[in-house]
Amino acid sequence: MRSVLLACCLFSTASFAGSAYVRVPAGGFSSVLKYEDSKGKQKIVGFELMKNPVTNAQFLAFVRKYPQWQKGKAPKAFAEPTHYLSHWQSALVLGGKVKPQQPVTQVSWFSASAYCEAQGARLPTWNEWEYTAAADRTRHDARKDPAWRESILGWYAKPSNTPIADVGKTPANVYGIQDLHGLIWEWTEDYSAMLVSADNRNQSDPDKSKFCGASALSMADKENYAVMMRVAMLSSLEAVNSTSNLGFRCAKPLP
């Protein structure tokens, strides 16, 4: 039975249940990242993914129930104090500038993982995220379409001086999932598997001793800059970090 969690109302304190989960069926998939060890396609096992990223309202309900994750209380090792929820007015008040339906940002990997676990879910893996994000409104894999790439690059080019839009405003892709592009960066469970050299120009020359038998993580499709930039972003982060453009959504196995 599919478990559907209803999108919560504003300021809900009763439950911090996330938005609805959408089923993503199993499939074969060629990641844009060329893993030297794998032979071509990755196999994606069917899973469920949140329709939208987690919002400020939902995260607020979460920290009400689990005060150890509140701003100011979360231990340094799990959320860097200078940035964690720094845009919220206080630990339990969003404040005028922060809208409830915006995706929550300035959250660390630890806090995002904790949120997902609290509802019996987890963060999606990079492959699951990339697989779902390869789709557009009509196609399962739009990655070769230059127009699709340009529109994604367009978001990267815009500065952060405009407030982030609310979730749910972009058209759903062919799976029924929204906001995978054009809104925020998103944490994945295995962000730390982005074993890219910090100097991204060395991609095809793996530092075998730095990455212990490094199988070079290079780009199979060098023109997919949209994905390249997501990988660059994730590879620059430590679990304890947060940024003003980085949020998350949760995934869970099929029921």
Partner: protein, 507 residues
């Protein structure tokens, strides 16, 4: 020894002598060359380590373009702390055209960094919390992996630090090296770091910082609004803008670089690319010195010098005359159609010996000019009071061909319906005083000549004096079947006095 050998001995000895002589000679030349090279070589990085830093750590002064930090003035190596912040900023790339630049220090190009060879540089790279992207830095002055890129990969809202020793003197580019590198560079993430030679740069009156870059937008050149970056155009190396210092007006108008006559100037010139090589030239100036590619040796007396993408050059000259020098990339369509244009305004007293400005503005007849000899002869005769009719006619012909034949034609036929004929002209023959008046004052409105109607405009011939008018009219009266006769300078003077000059006539 046999007879044969005896014959060979001398040649052999001579040959041997010659060989050894030439051997000595080339050795000497080699030695001399080697010595010359040894004196002027800087020794590169092997000779660039002057030991540990001395004294208190120094906070580097960074400047925004087009300004350059002052010389370090040091003679010992120091520890220099550089704090450079990355900011993603929306700014105008051209009037009414906005672009999201990714910058070092909030400007394109980024802040200018100045250190001395042998300095230990503690580099802090900060990525502003509002940035969307992670960034890093590759300084071409760094000897080390990625030029520092491997050690400076920084997420938004965080900072990185690494330390390097500047072993080589020179003018070096720095730029972001985060994937995709081309996009980060195309968005303006580059600047210059100067590593002074141990003795410092020779003193000049002014120093400026200029850096060229190519930019790629979805919209056309000068298409208004917020323009996004166009990746395909960048791959195709087809820029929309080619600019100095990141925007079309960066070095124009009030932002032009300023100099005074008599001053020496040095420009630290970089090229961030990402794609194009620059043919750097300043219209109206010659570079007395060019430190090719920003290295240690200079060439002299250069008009245009190449600046590689990801490279630099240093140019010096002395301003000798006032005026505006125009900085261009001499691949000239870039200058006039894509914005690769800047200005250097030099003020001060003129020096006509070097440049006079326009001296003469004279009529150039080209192939319409005929020999002016008869005119000269007539002038002399007139002066001597002995001008003959024949001389007048000859002079008049020369003048007619230079002035009147353009419209009335050399055979006096004019052009039907446009310019009236002078040949066998009933109008001309009827009244020579009227003819003089027409040459002096012009003629507007309808006339009938030889039965044909004309309605044109003849301008007053203000450039002719009395003698010239007299000679021309005399010539026409005596040509092409006209009735003949003579007009004197005095006749012309009288008509000139008696008739009003029309508006616009000179005199």
């Amino acid at each position: 020894m046999g007879a044969i050998m005896k014959h060979l001995v001398v040649p052999i000895i001579i040959a041997a002598a010659l060989l050894s002589l030439s051997g000595c000679k080339s050795e000497k030349t080699d030695e001399a060359a080697a010595t010359t090279a040894a004196i002027t070589d800087t020794g590169g990085s092997a000779a660039g380590d002057f030991g540990p830093p001395q004294g208190e750590p120094i906070n580097a002064i960074l400047t925004s373009p087009p300004l350059v930090p002052p010389p370090t003035g040091r003679s010992t190596p120091a520890k220099v702390i550089v704090q450079l912040e990355v900011r993603e900023v929306e700014m105008e790339i051209s009037e009414g055209v906005k672009y999201t630049f990714w910058t070092f220090g909030g400007t394109v190009p980024g802040s200018f960094i100045r250190v001395r060879q042998g300095d230990t540089v503690e580099f802090h790279l900060k990525n502003h919390p509002d940035s969307k992207m992670p960034h890093n830095i590759d300084l071409h002055a760094v000897t080390g992996p990625g030029g520092g890129a491997a050690s400076s990969f920084t997420a938004p809202g965080h900072a990185s630090q690494f330390t390097f020793k500047a072993l080589n003197a020179g003018l070096y580019v720095y730029h972001c090296a985060t994937a995709p590198v081309g996009m980060h560079v195309a968005n303006g993430m580059y600047g210059l770091i100067l590593v002074e030679p141990p003795q410092g740069m020779p003193k000049v009156d002014k120093e400026y910082y200029v850096m060229q870059g190519d930019f790629y937008t979805v919209g056309k050149y000068r298409e208004k609004g917020v323009q996004p970056f166009d990746m395909q155009k960048a791959i195709d190396e087809n820029p929309t803008y080619v600019l100095f210092n990141g925007s079309e007006g960066a070095l124009l108008g009030d932002n032009a670089l300023k100099l005074n006559v008599g001053e020496t100037v040095r420009m630290y010139v970089g090229n961030g690319g990402p794609n194009l090589v620059s043919s750097f030239h300043i219209i109206g100036e010659i570079f007395d010195k060019v430190y090719t590619e920003g290295g240690s040796r200079y060439q002299e007396n250069v008009q245009t010098t190449l600046v590689p993408a990801g490279g630099s050059t240093i140019i010096e000259y002395k301003a000798e005359v006032p005026g505006t020098g125009v900085i261009v990339d001499h691949s000239i369509f870039r200058a006039f159609n894509k914005g690769a244009l800047g200005m250097v305004k030099t003020s001060g007293p003129e020096n006509k010996a070097i440049y006079s400005g326009k001296e003469v503005d004279s009529v150039y007849l080209g192939d319409k000019a005929v020999s002016a000899a008869p005119v000269a002869a007539a002038a002399t005769a007139t002066a001597g009071g002995v001008l003959t009719l024949a001389q007048q006619i000859k002079a008049g012909e020369a003048l007619y061909n230079g002035t009147c034949s353009v419209c009335h034609q050399s055979n006096g036929d004019g052009i039907p319906n446009v310019f009236p004929p002078l040949a066998k002209s009933d109008y001309l023959n009827a009244d020579k005083t009227r003819a003089i008046g027409i040459v002096l004052n012009g003629l507007n409105g309808p006339v009938t000549v030889n039965g044909a109607k004309f309605d044109s405009v003849m301008p007053p011939m203000s450039q002719l004096n009395d003698d010239e008018v007299a000679n021309i009219v005399t010539f026409t009266l005596n040509s092409w079947g006209n009735k003949g006769g003579r007009v004197t300078a005095a006749d012309v003077a009288q008509v000139r006095k008696a008739t009003p000059r029309p508006q616009g006539a000179a005199h």
